[in-house]
């Protein structure tokens, strides 16, 4: 018989491997609410042990925006991709720039994105981003025409292995026009 703690850990391990989506500490704790009465602290501790145990293995336990998930480790990923014939989806620069603007300047309207990029944003890009559930409409800018305001979602953060928007790469600082610069 495994000890109570070992079993809690085992169950969480199996849950995470079978869930097919990240599980939050709250949700895991809720699944134990009736008989077991495991506390969030206990769940957190089990997760920490699992995280350690899976270090240096083929998969790793990662915390992302919506919870914890097992994912293929970066060292094994290129081998694992051989399982499928499909190539990973590639995203155009136009899409990535639009996404970056929404991520860093949220909430932002389409017109504001167009002003910074200097070109029109195609409807298909916005549609694709909404379809992937990477962005959503969070409201309307209080200007004539009431344009939609876009923001990124937790699913976007999950996809890019981030826990929150603060983990996005930092923006490069702009040089000031009035200071004498000596290039870079």
């Amino acid at each position: 018989m495994p000890t109570a703690k070992a079993s809690l850990k085992n169950i969480i391990e199996a849950m995470l491997l079978a869930a097919g989506q990240p599980l939050s500490i709250k949700r895991i704790t809720r699944l134990f609410s009736d008989e077991w009465q495991a506390s969030e602290a206990e769940v957190r501790e089990a997760l920490a042990i699992l995280q350690q145990e899976y270090q240096g293995r083929g998969v790793e336990l990662k915390e992302v925006a919506t919870g914890y998930r097992f994912q293929v480790s970066q060292e094994t990923a290129s081998w694992v991709s051989r399982l499928w014939e499909e190539r990973p989806p590639r995203y155009s620069r136009a899409l990535l720039e639009t996404l970056a603007l929404i991520a860093y300047r949220q909430p932002i309207t389409r017109a504001e994105i167009e002003e910074i990029r200097g070109v029109a944003v195609s409807s298909s890009i916005i549609k694709t981003l909404i379809e992937r559930e990477w962005i959503r409409v969070t409201g309307q800018r209080d200007v004539p025409g009431k344009p939609a305001l876009y923001a990124t979602t937790d699913i976007f953060l999950d996809y890019f292995n981030l826990q929150n928007a603060d983990q996005l790469p930092s923006l490069m600082a702009a040089q000031k026009l009035d200071t004498t610069s000596n290039g870079h």
Partner: protein
């Protein structure tokens, strides 16, 4: 000021621009001509093209040699037109902005403007270029982050056999009908918009007019209007002419009131 134009590396005729043969590509364009179209299509718009010109020539973004950059920019725009790349109106608007900055920099500073207005005519352009570059770089960084389906993959083993009754979401027939109606309406809507854009775009018409007029000869004003386009077409053409005139890309000449108006491209 050092010239950004390469000194005739290639002798073969590459394209005709405004009737003049182009024998050399702008510097930095060391690519086979058949890859030209692909290369030009990689620009994400006028700001991207300008940034490329500035960065590839190691120019100081805070002290842009505007005359040279404008000349280079127009060369690329002409190339794009020459190989029939659909040129967005945004490129022409930027051309007009560059021309305006150029002319403002040529103006001798008046005492009044010296006193209260020390803004460089390039300031707004620099601000926009910097803002765009910041997010262009951010997009590149975003593309580097390890992401699902490329650098890592979902792990998913089969659910335990104990649970036979998998719970499925409930669906009402009504919601399928509504989803269908929405998709049909949206499809109709987008088609409608595309048609409207293509027929009545001022930007497109500006481009068409610029292709028609030359700096060397006069074209009759009335020739710019096409028969059978209806009132909408007339208005768009008129707006395009006024816009081009405002941006000083064309000149309008009328000898006497009620005489024929002539149009020619700005030199």
């Amino acid at each position: 000021m050092s010239s950004l134009v390469a000194t005739a590396p290639a002798e073969s005729l590459l394209a005709k621009v405004n009737g003049e043969p182009v024998v050399s590509l702008p510097k930095g364009l060391f690519i086979p001509p058949d890859a030209l179209e692909v290369f030009l299509e990689t620009f994400e718009g006028p700001l991207d093209l300008l940034l490329y010109l500035i960065r590839s020539h190691n120019l100081d973004i805070l002290n842009i040699p505007i005359a040279e950059v404008t000349r280079q920019y127009m060369k690329y725009v002409a190339l794009m037109e020459a190989i029939d790349l659909t040129l967005a109106a945004d490129y022409l608007v930027m051309a007009a902005m560059l021309a305006e900055i150029k002319s403002r920099m040529l103006l001798p500073p008046t005492s009044q403007s010296e006193a209260q207005d020390e803004t460089d005519p390039r300031a707004e352009l620099v601000r926009r270029l910097q803002a765009y570059e910041r997010y262009k770089k951010a997009a590149e960084a975003l593309d580097q982050i390890p992401r699902m389906e490329r650098d890592t993959f979902e792990v998913k083993i089969d659910p335990p056999p104990l649970q036979q009754e998998r719970q499925h979401p409930q669906v009402e027939l009504e919601s399928i009908l509504l989803a269908f109606r929405e998709v049909v309406q949206r499809a109709a809507h987008t088609t409608h918009h595309t048609i409207e854009r293509e027929v009545l775009s001022v930007g497109e018409r500006m481009k068409a007019i610029l292709a028609l007029v030359t700096p060397h000869s006069f074209t009759a004003f009335s020739e710019l209007f096409q028969q059978g386009e209806g009132r909408g077409g007339l208005i768009v053409t008129l707006l395009a002419i006024l816009e081009l005139h405002k941006e000083q890309l064309i000149e309008l000449v009328q000898v006497e009131p009620y005489e024929v108006i002539h149009v020619k491209g700005s030199a």
